[in-house]
């Protein structure tokens, strides 16, 4: 399956297993602009898979309402770039629902799915990676898969998790990434990073599409510099797996974090800050962040903007030679 099919599979499993589950968002009824919901309305009916008007804060507010009654709400925001009108609902309502009521009420059965990240031609408003904005908000979980197999397992975990979750789907991988994915439901735990390649000299951390970039950088490093890299996919942005990253940095002494989102205030800064607190004496070189520039996501300049393998390789080389 490719990524959008694995998402459809996960949603299919959810609707089959949980009679209260509903999917809604803009254009989900016909199958969605990325085909993630194809066939679901025919299979489960128009009461369970339906369109909403074009209003993100309404979509999320509505989803919170459904979740508060106890039903499972799976909301789609058509592009992560449009999630900002719903920011107040997510941060001030969804994230705080349980805390402010002392666990009397909650909207834990809410999951928000949204296409995320650069796609080659998305420009300012179809390419953003807003995970850093939400990382600053206790009470929600933010999850980003790197592949179809990961996507299905993580999405099912998000849906079943008793906290409101935001699941960002790398849109460039919807069709491009394909692998064997089980038809039956399965879960991948949240808040657990995955070491996808072990190494001894440098730790490389990324999430979503960028994991594939750093994997390539790891093989470049091996080939050209004889450097052994440990590649980690963070998977859950908050609450993030501090232990796995720190354990790796204690072993290697060097850390490079990469993401498409702009450098300043990007999630790499949180990882960097925590790692230097926990592993200061183990570090052999300053922690390196290879990220997007501090500009809005550009249109024609996209190839120059994104943290490609060459920028990452260059930063890695500097760290090795520090």
């Amino acid at each position: 399956m490719n990524l959008f099919q694995s998402v459809t599979s996960a949603l299919d499993n959810s609707l089959a297993k949980d009679p209260t589950a509903v999917i809604f968002g803009e254009d989900v009824a016909f199958g969605g602009v990325f085909r993630c919901t194809v066939g679901l309305r025919d299979k489960y009916g128009k009461d369970r898979v339906f369109n909403t008007p074009l209003c993100e804060q309404g979509i999320v507010g509505f989803g919170i309402g459904i979740a508060v009654t106890g039903a499972t709400a799976i909301a789609e925001i058509q592009f992560a770039d449009y999630i900002f009108p719903a920011f107040d609902q997510i941060v001030n309502e969804a994230a705080k629902y349980r805390y402010r009521s002392g666990d009397l009420f909650n909207c834990g059965s809410l999951t928000i799915r949204s296409p995320w990240g650069c796609v080659g031609h998305g420009a300012l408003y179809h390419s953003q990676s807003p995970e850093a904005f939400f990382a600053h908000c206790p009470g929600i979980k933010v999850v980003i898969p790197r592949s179809p197999f990961q996507a299905k397992g993580l999405l099912l975990s998000c849906i079943e998790d008793k906290n409101p979750c935001i699941f960002f789907e790398p849109k460039i991988l919807y069709r491009a990434a394909a692998e064997e994915v089980p038809i039956e439901p399965y879960n991948i735990p949240l808040s657990q990073a995955e070491v996808i390649q072990e190494g001894s000299d440098v730790t490389l951390v990324a999430w979503g599409t960028q994991v594939h970039v750093i994997r390539e950088v790891a093989s470049m490093a091996k080939e050209k510099l004889g450097v052994s890299c440990e590649v980690i996919d963070l998977r859950t942005i908050i609450p993030w797996d501090v232990d796995t990253i720190c354990k790796s940095v204690i072993k290697t002494g060097r850390l490079l974090i990469s993401h498409e989102a702009p450098l300043t205030g990007g999630f790499a800064s949180e990882i960097s800050s925590t790692v230097q607190e926990e592993c200061f004496l183990n570090l052999e070189a300053p922690i390196s962040r290879v990220c997007g520039y501090d500009t809005p996501f550009p249109h024609i300049f996209e190839p120059f903007y994104i943290p490609d393998k060459w920028k990452c390789y260059d930063a890695l080389r500097k760290m090795i030679n520090y």
């Binding site: 909403t52 804060q57 349980r98 002392g102 009470g139």
Partner: protein, 208 residues
Amino acid sequence: MRKMLAAVSRVLSGASQKPGQIFEAYNMAALWKLPCIFICENNRYGMGTSVERAAASTDYYKRGDFIPGLRVDGMDILCVREATRFAAAYCRSGKGPILMELQTYRYHGHSMSDPGVSYRTREEIQEVRSKSDPIMLLKDRMVNSNLASVEELKEIDVEVRKEIEDAAQFATADPEPPLEELGYHIYSSDPPFEVRGANQWIKFKSVS
């Protein structure tokens, strides 16, 4: 037919971060004919700004546009009851959402730091308190219709005062919750999840 009734409440004083959102809610409710009563408690002030200075149209009951609205005298208890009855019946009959604006008043300031008189006159507050106070109006009605005697109502007054005294006593005497509870219920998590505090050596457990 499911007699589900969802009432959405929007309090006017202070909930002004969300005016745009209410229109999206109106749209969805009307579009899908949801059985929903939208309640607007209009106490005439948003913190320190009177409605006349904040709203292009203070006919809040009309702001539902395509959703019918009622303007209700929020100071008259029986009026509120009957209006609610009407609105509930309307929704239950499948006609879709309805909006209820309850006109009321806020005697005190918005918060402990707001004296409540820097943006309105004491005379205005006194006038409402003496002419439109809901409890007073109901009391008069009951006494004048011989539904209760002044003494009976005085007894209730005494009981209420005692209840409040006891509650205030309890609140002031009750010990503060332990610091650990700061982290509770951020997430639903099993096992409890650790939350970082103000520095890296402070950790709270989010129990839920």
